[in-house]
Symmetry: C2
Subunit: 216 residues, 2 copies
């Protein structure tokens, strides 16, 4: 068995998700940085690990390569069941996965670096235009997400109950991204409260972009 | 216990995914159509079911409401284990989930109706511009997806082995969407072959947009 390797980038919010999950599971791993803006993830050596050339990619101790941040988190949850990232009951698991996917399938992809770059190159978007675009998709999903979290009886200190899990992982990484585009968080007191509760835990705080070895 | 209800829209590819999953699991359900272009999904009655006002949403026989198509598919897989939508081994499960997420987190969200509408309203994109945008994101992910499927030893008649699952569900729904924007599928022989194999099964064929009661 070799050491676990995480191919990632400090500022990538999908990498951030996986770093939190690895910390929650107590997995010690080697950090391999790929600088997205320098195109390092298009290196032939890295394409042999992940043909998509995207981060994150996890190389498990048995050599299994896993890509896509949510697939990596579920893989970790299956390999190391404690502490669980998902609750036990199917309806509860679905609630947590749905919250995670609201962020991972609705906000993040539309605001990804390559999409923002295409807005610039194809439609001449400037910094202000790109920031407007980014904020539009955050608000479109954060408004119902705030309502869902604020009103649901199973929302606790975290998105679901009193222990952090997959939904919190996605929430924290998204809120960190929001700060780069000056998203007004005042309409989202529940999301902000949960984010703050997470950041009190070292598993979340230690995974922050600013604390990574490739941070600028 | 009441009957299962699927809130959906014939042309929505995320609804299409869930219809396939329900068929594969042999679940008989009530079909409730919400016409996205007419804004029916913003009805107060529907917002009580899904505060996001998006389709699909599944109301299970015990009253549990599940949103987000991949969360719904995983919920179905946990409630009705046979036939499985995911393989048994964690590394294999991760491979299938990653393929599903390449489509569900990279292609579909960027090409969603509301994003295309925003391209029109904010950047004056015309039909040709919208189609170019759509095809760009398909090709960006289908090129590595084709390579991954064509070269991986566990690719079989379907994305993973000889039985259809979560990855095939996403693949078929995406290929159907591609046809609406004239995506050239000739660079993707493996994806096309798997899609054709799926469409030979009634679970997939019966879930097609054209066969739904609200089809136009």
């Amino acid at each position: 068995m070799s050491r676990v390797v995480l191919h990632n980038y400090f500022r990538s919010s999908t990498s951030y998700r996986v770093r939190i999950a690895l910390n929650l599971k107590g997995v010690d791993y080697d950090y391999v940085a790929h600088h997205l803006r320098h195109g390092e993830h298009r290196d032939p050596a890295y394409l042999a690990v992940n043909p998509q050339g995207l981060v994150p990619a996890l190389v498990w101790s048995n050599g299994t390569i896993v890509t896509q941040s949510l697939a990596i988190c579920e893989f970790l949850d299956e390999m190391i069941p404690e502490p669980p990232l998902l609750p036990a009951e199917p309806g509860d698991r679905a609630r947590v996965r749905a919250i995670a996917q609201m962020i991972a399938c609705e906000i993040h992809p539309v605001n990804n670096l390559r999409v923002l770059n295409t807005l610039r190159s194809r439609y001449g978007a400037d910094d202000a235009g790109v920031a407007d675009w980014f904020r539009q998709w955050v608000h479109e999903t954060f408004v119902p997400l705030e309502a869902m979290l604020a009103t649901h009886p199973q929302t606790g200190r975290f998105c679901h109950g009193e222990t952090p899990g997959l939904a919190d992982i996605c929430l924290v990484a998204q809120v960190a991204n929001n700060a780069r585009f000056n998203v007004d968080m005042s309409p989202y007191p529940t999301i902000s409260r949960i984010r703050d509760a997470c950041m009190e835990l070292s598993a979340f705080a230690d995974a922050s972009p600013a604390r990574q070895p490739d941070a600028e």
